[in-house]
């Protein structure tokens, strides 16, 4: 047994060394910058996915902390709101995205659950073991963390490919780097089609995300803060491509008689305010911050 334990320990040391490498990589490339713990004097918060990011620089001017992050889901937002409520923040108002895609099944898998774990406590899990597994083991042992694996793999592949054969940019990549307003109509349409395919993969919405959204509504009622739903602006091209596609987060708000600020088509023809088909740029973010936060 001694020999076995010794051999196993030595082998595990190599595995551990690789794990440390992954951990450091994950810390630098994945977890860094996600968790933001705002000043406790702040009472208003914005929660959204990447659509909320252009408002980052401007929301503070109106006393609102922007806790949006690319790919954030209602699971992540629920964790963040719970964190604020449990940690003595006097939450007064919460602005939250209710865009058409937010209840999409793709968001159920493509989200920040691994990162928003930093906002959780044992209370967010059924039992201590579950918390230990998700918040401790998966964090410190990225060997059990598929997200880090895919990011690390992509990183290594890119480095190898760059070394072997510096890659020429594809048509799509070049288009993505060009100002949205300067793109040709067919390029805009192509980007919109691709985006729609990602955001609306099926007709059925995610029940789990709907439940998380309902939990957020319940939190607003039990903790007496004002919840405001926001529909972020889209370009006319994207509006035309998605048509009536929607997973209906807006309806959940309307059924609960919660205020909805619908700016989906307000700037549709002002393409100069957009980074791409469905994301505002800095200029758009500045304008939109003023519109929603200074009402």
């Amino acid at each position: 047994m001694k020999k076995f334990l010794l051999s196993a320990s030595v082998f595990l040391m190599f595995v551990l060394a690789f794990n440390v490498l992954l951990f450091v990589f994950g810390k630098i490339n994945y977890f860094k910058d996600y968790a933001v713990y705002p000043d406790k004097k702040i009472k208003s918060f914005l929660f959204a996915d990447s659509h909320g990011l252009p408002l980052e620089k401007f929301s503070r001017d109106y006393g609102v902390v922007n806790l949006s992050y690319a790919s954030d889901s209602y699971f992540d937002m629920e964790r963040k709101i719970n964190y604020l409520l449990r940690n003595g923040y006097k939450v007064d108002s919460v602005f939250i995205t209710i865009d058409d895609h937010t209840l999409s099944p793709y968001r159920e898998t493509s989200n920040n659950m691994e990162r928003s774990i930093s906002y959780t406590s044992t209370k967010d899990f059924n039992n201590l073991y579950h918390y230990f597994k998700e918040a401790v083991i998966r964090y410190y042992v990225p060997l059990f963390q598929p997200k880090i694996e895919s990011i690390f793999m992509a990183f290594v592949k890119a480095k190898i490919m760059d070394f072997i054969r510096p890659k020429k940019k594809t048509k799509e990549e070049l288009a993505a780097e060009t100002d949205w307003s300067k793109l040709k109509e067919e390029e805009k349409l192509a980007q919109c089609e691709k985006r729609k395919k990602d955001q609306f993969p099926s007709e059925v919405s995610s029940d789990r995300l709907r439940k998380a959204l309902e939990n957020i509504i319940a939190l607003s009622k039990s903790n007496h803060f004002t919840l405001v739903g926001i529909r972020f602006p889209l370009t006319s091209t994207y509006l035309q491509v998605i048509g009536n596609s929607s997973y209906g987060a807006e309806n959940v708000f309307k059924e609960n008689q919660i205020l909805v600020l619908d700016y989906k088509s307000t700037y549709q023809h002002r393409h100069e305010l957009f980074e791409n088909q469905d994301h505002l740029n800095d200029e758009g973010g500045k304008l939109f911050s003023k519109v929603i936060f200074s009402r």
Binding site: M1, F18, E149, M153
Partner: protein, 484 residues
């Protein structure tokens, strides 16, 4: 709790420590610990079905003792049939009731009588077919006076519920496993290392081969009406490797886990895709089930002792029952029937026991004739798997119809084709490794003969990295055989 889950990675080391460091000096305590952990392992799926498992264990334990103590043949027979009927009754209710109710209604509908059958909305208790067969072999062996009834309840319960084999086999025999449970186990360094190596290979088969092939097989089977003939062939081949990687991977992990605890389980797979005929394939695929049917069904039916028609009848019976064991669907019955048909030429020409040893023993390459035989057997197997994988007979027939179309000669194409190349390459490498290691118990068993530790460990590390980087961790794919 899946073998390839973080839960198991936490669970097993704890059990290993308890087993070897806390309870080893007291066999009774060690077995009790094994029983409780096995129950816990099972309860992780659905604690309610734990009571069904406990009842099944208690029934066979109790009827076993009653048969042993019976004063007359009649009394012994009574307890035997009670156990058989209750065991098969549970299996029938949970697994087959809805199938029979629906089939009966369909048959009446053909005669113009419409009925709405009363069906049960129940889920299938995981592993029920496996532990029922465990129990059945035990009571049959006692009834046939091959073994004595086990008096120690804990030992018997461990025999049925030992966690590595509980949910998907191998289907053990009391004569093989019970003696190991009853005597003290001693830690053996070489066996423990071999166990770890087999677990590693099992994980590779499951996570890299099976789960990656599953993605593409699912996509092709689910959209089979839009696929070209060549793509459908590729889909069937993906499923062929999915089911092998999945089930033999599970068996490797189960055997390796048990070996780490000083227990040897029955071998379940022996490189079946290198078989030269269907009879050899069935001696190498799911060996514990095939031998179960041979010993408890085929031989009692007369086996191959009678005339030619009796042999044919018995062969069809065991293949159809084997198909039905897999699930309550006509597709499994056709799959079983098809394999019986494949078997017929061998049976009728008395050549079903020609290829008993592994192919090309002592040589690296097979002869041209052997290669052709392997390819033919493989093609027949792939064809039969289509029925196994299809959702119903209509799907299977339309899938096969799609294959035999002019598009069979085109280049396979489907949405995920670009991603499939990595899986195809990994599968080819996997086949090569299995070919090289085919004279061992599992693909990389012979690595222990590599004297240089650095090379050996380098290979282990490479396999681990392949599992990490190329494994399908994105979605939790359950082991296929859990549903049986």
């Amino acid at each position: 709790m899946l073998f390839n889950s973080l839960d198991f990675a936490v669970f097993f080391p704890l059990i290993f420590i308890l087993y070897w460091f806390v309870t080893q000096k007291n066999l009774k305590l060690q077995n009790l610990m094994l029983l409780l952990t096995s129950f816990f392992f099972y309860a992780c799926w659905d604690w309610r079905f734990l009571f069904l498992l406990m009842f099944s264990i208690f029934l066979d334990y109790f009827t076993g003792i009653k048969m042993q103590d019976a004063g007359s043949k009649k009394e012994k027979t009574f307890w035997f049939w009670l156990s058989v009927i209750v065991n098969l009754g549970f299996l029938g209710v949970f697994k087959y009731y809805n199938f029979f109710a629906d089939s009966f209604a369909d048959a009446l509908a053909l005669a113009g009588v419409q009925v709405n059958p009363w069906t049960l909305s129940i889920i299938l208790p995981v592993g029920i077919s496996f532990y029922t067969f465990h129990g059945l072999s035990y009571v049959i062996d006692i009834y046939k006076s091959r073994i004595d009834a086990e008096k120690n309840f804990v030992d018997y319960a461990v025999f049925v519920s030992f966690f590595p084999l509980l949910v998907a086999g191998p289907i053990e025999r009391a004569t093989h496993l019970l003696p190991q449970i009853k005597k003290p186990r001693h830690f053996d360094y070489n066996k423990a290392i071999d166990g770890l190596r087999q677990i590693l290979w099992g994980l590779f088969k499951k996570v890299v081969i099976a789960d990656n092939c599953a993605k593409f097989a699912n996509e092709i089977f689910q959209n089979s009406d839009q696929m070209s003939g060549s793509t459908l062939v590729l889909g069937a081949i993906f499923f062929t490797f999915q089911i092998y990687g999945d089930f033999s991977g599970y068996s490797d992990i189960a055997l390796g886990t048990a070996r780490l605890m000083g227990i040897e389980l029955l071998r379940n797979f022996a490189f079946p895709y290198f078989s030269r005929d269907i009879a050899e394939f069935w001696r190498r695929w799911h060996i514990s089930l095939s031998s179960w049917f041979r010993d408890y069904l085929y031989i009692p039916l007369g086996g191959s002792k009678g005339g030619i028609w009796m042999k044919v009848r018995n062969t069809f019976i065991i293949f159809l029952v084997s198909g039905f064991w897999h699930g309550a669907n006509w597709t499994f019955l056709v799959w079983g029937g098809l394999n019986a048909l494949y078997f017929m030429p061998l049976l009728l020409t008395n050549s079903n026991r020609t290829n008993l040893e592994i192919v090309a023993q002592g040589r690296f390459l097979p002869s041209f004739r052997e290669f052709f035989q392997i390819l033919t057997t493989f093609a027949l197997t792939v064809f039969a798997w289509i029925f196994f994988r299809a959702t119903d007979l209509h799907h299977a027939v339309s899938y096969i119809g799609g294959i035999f179309s002019p598009s069979l000669l085109t280049i396979p194409k489907f949405e995920g084709m670009k991603d499939a190349f990595a899986t195809i390459n990994l599968t080819l490498i996997f086949l090569l490794v299995e070919w090289i290691g085919r004279e061992g118990n599992y693909g990389i068993a012979n690595l222990n003969k590599v004297r240089n530790k650095a090379i050996r460990w380098g290979i282990y590390f490479l396999i681990l990295l392949t599992i990490y980087f190329y494994g399908n961790h994105g979605e939790s794919v359950e082991f296929i055989y859990f549903q049986f």
